[in-house]
C-alpha cells in the first residue's frame, strides 16, 4: 500500500503549491494561512470535543457530569470513577473483560492475516479457471449487508452447540470472511512486480516458496494495516458478541459496557464513562502510534476501490 501511495502522494508536493503564488503578495499569503489555521483549529476543537469531554468526565465526580457541565476542567478531578470501573460488573472484574477482548482481537488478527494473505495470493498471483468469477463474488460480498447471514449462521452454531463460545466469533476470521482484507492484500500484491515470481519460478520455486519467502516479506505494509484494522474492528465489535455470548465471564468490553449501562441505569455516569474510556484506550493508543499507517491505508485503499 505504501509503495503504491508514494508516487501519487509525493507528486503534487514536488510541483507547484495548490494556490497560485505569483498573484498574491506575501501579506495576503500570510493572512490566508492564518485564516486557514484558525478555521482548522476551530474545527479540530469541535471534532475533538466529545473525546475530550469523555476523558474529562471520567475524572469528574458524578455531580459534575449530571449537572450538565460543558467544561473540560474540574476542581475535583479524581480517579474514583476508574476505581469503580475496574471493579467490574456482575461479579466479573474489568480485567477479565479486557482479557476477553484481547483474546478475541488477537485471534481475529492471526486468523485474518493467515487466511486473507493466502487467499489473496491465489487471486493475485495464480492463474486458475474460475478465478475472475470468484474474485467478482468476493467483491460482491464487500457490498452485501451481512445481516442476511446472521440468522442461519446463528442456527448452525446453535445446533453445533457452539453458542457461548468464541468459535462463532473467530471462525470467520480464519476463513477470510472479511473480504475487505482479502481485497486490500490482492490490490497490494498486484502492485508488486511480476518479475519477482517469474524469476523464482525459473529458479524452480513452487507457489508455497514464492508465497512464503517472496510475497509475505514484501507485503509487510499490507499485513500491518490488516492487523491494525482487524484488531480495532474486533475490539469494537458489538453485534457478534451480543448474539453469541451469554455468560458475563466471557464478555468482551463492549458487552460489559452494555451490562454496566443496564445495571446502573445512569446512576453512576462517572464510572460508566470511565469504563468507556478504558475500553477505547487500546484503540486510541494504536491510533497514536500508527496514525500515519492508518490514514495512508484508508486513503490508498479507498481510491483503489
Amino acid at each position: 500500500m505504501t509503495t503504491m501511495a508514494t508516487p501519487t502522494q509525493s507528486a503534487p508536493e514536488a510541483g507547484t503549491p495548490a494556490y497560485n503564488p505569483k498573484s498574491e503578495s506575501v501579506g495576503a499569503k500570510r493572512a490566508k494561512s492564518t485564516a486557514f489555521h484558525i478555521a482548522a483549529l476551530i474545527l479540530t476543537g469541535i471534532v475533538l470535543y466529545p473525546g475530550l469531554w469523555m476523558i474529562a468526565s471520567a475524572f469528574k465526580p458524578n455531580s459534575e457530569i449530571g449537572g450538565g457541565n460543558t467544561s473540560l476542567w474540574s476542581e475535583n478531578f479524581s480517579f474514583d470513577n476508574f476505581v469503580t470501573a475496574l471493579d467490574g460488573i456482575g461479579g466479573v472484574s474489568t480485567m477479565q473483560f479486557f482479557t476477553n477482548s484481547l483474546i478475541l482481537a488477537l485471534g481475529a488478527v492471526v486468523g485474518t492475516i493467515l487466511s486473507a494473505s493466502v487467499s489473496a495470493y491465489a487471486f493475485a498471483r495464480i492463474k486458475f479457471p474460475g478465478r475472475s468469477v470468484f474474485f467478482g463474488m468476493m467483491i460482491a460480498t464487500l457490498l452485501l449487508p451481512f445481516h442476511v447471514v446472521i440468522i442461519p449462521q446463528y442456527i448452525i452454531f446453535q445446533q453445533l452447540g457452539l453458542v457461548d463460545t468464541y468459535i462463532p466469533l473467530l471462525i470467520g476470521k480464519f476463513l477470510a470472511a472479511d473480504a475487505f482484507f482479502v481485497f486490500l492484500m490482492v490490490q497490494f500484491m498486484r502492485g508488486l512486480p511480476a518479475e519477482l515470481d517469474e524469476a523464482a519460478r525459473i529458479d524452480g520455486a513452487g507457489h508455497v516458496r514464492i508465497f512464503s519467502s517472496i510475497m509475505l516479506p514484501l507485503m509487510k505494509p499490507a499485513l500491518i494495516s490488516t492487523s491494525i484494522f482487524s484488531f480495532i474492528w474486533s475490539w469494537n465489535d458489538f453485534l457478534g458478541p451480543l448474539l453469541y455470548l451469554n455468560t458475563p465471564e466471557k464478555y468482551p468490553l463492549p458487552l460489559a459496557l452494555r451490562l454496566f449501562q443496564d445495571q446502573t441505569q445512569s446512576s453512576d455516569y462517572g464510572a460508566m464513562i470511565a469504563m468507556s474510556v478504558l475500553a477505547l484506550l487500546p484503540v486510541l493508543i494504536f491510533f497514536l502510534i500508527f496514525q500515519r499507517y492508518i490514514v495512508e491505508g484508508v486513503s490508498t485503499q479507498g481510491l483503489k476501490g
Binding site: 469523555m54 449537572g67 452485501l144 442461519p152 484508508v298
Partner: protein, 317 residues
Amino acid sequence: MTQSPTLSRRSTQSGPAPLRKSKRGGVDARAGYTFLLPWLLGFIALTVGPMISSLYLSFTNYNLFEPPKWIGLDNYITLFQDERFLQSVGVTVGYVVFGTPLKLAAALAVAMLLNSKRRGQGFYRSAFYAPSLIGASVSIAIVWKAMFGDSGPVDQGLSFFGINLGGWVGNPTMTMPMFILLTVWQFGAPMVIFLAGLKQIPNELYEAASMDGAGPVRKFFNITWPMLSPVIFFNLLMETIHAFQIFASAFIISNGEGGPAGSTLFYTLYLYLRGFSDFRMGYASAMAWLLVIVVGIITLIFFKTSKSWVHYSGDSK
C-alpha cells in the same frame, strides 16, 4: 544453497518445453484452489449457504425450537402491515437520506480546506480522522447519550445561546438529528479518501482556469467535481450501504428498544429484536432479504446513473 539445484533443474527442464507448460497449467489450477481454500470454505459455509437458507427461512415460520413451517409469502405481506416495521424503514431512510449527504459534504469541504501545502496538515488530517475509528463503538454511543441527555453539555451549551431544547435523547423529534450528528462527526474516513483524490488533480487545470478568469465556484464545478467524481461515487456508495447497517449506537442509545416512541428503531435493530428477542426468525430473515434487495437496487441505480456524472479519465491512472 539455492544456486546449485537451480542450475541443474534448469538444464534438465530446458528440453521438453511444451510438456512442461501443460503440466504447469494443471499444477496452477490445483495450487490456485489450494490457496483459495480458506476463502472458498468461508464463502460457501458462511455466506452462500446461509444466504440460501435465510431465503428459505423467509418463507417460513421458524422459532428455533420447532421445525420451520412453510407459509409462502406471508412474512413479506405481514411486513408491509407491520407498523413497527414501516416505522423502522422510515427511521432508517431518514438517517440515510439526510446523514450520508451531510457527512460527505462535510468530508469534501474539509478535504478541500486541507488540500494545500501547509504546515500542520498531517495533524489536522489525523485529528479529523480519529472519530471514524471509534464512532461506531459502544463507548462513543454511551458518551453521545450522556452528551445529548437531559442537562448534558449539548443542552447546556445551547441554553447558553438561549435555545432550550432539553435532552435530545428523550425527545422523539431530536433523536434523528442526534444520530445524524453522530455520523457527520465521523466525516474523517471519506475526507481522507477525498483528500487523496484531490491531490491527484493536476494543478495545471486550475492554473489554466485562473488564466481564463474562472472564479472558485466555476473551478469547483468544472474541475474539482468532475475530476473527483469517481471518488465521490465510491464514497457515496460505501457510505450509503454502511448507513443502512447502523446498529451498535442505536442499540446502546435506546437501551435496545428503539425508543422514545420508536424514533430510534433502526432497521437492523428491529431485525435483531424480531429474530433474537421474539425468535421470529422467518420474519427476521424476510427483513434481511428485503434489506439485501433494497441495497442491491440502490447499488444498481448508483451504477446506472453514474454513467452520466462520473468521469473516468483514461490516462489519470
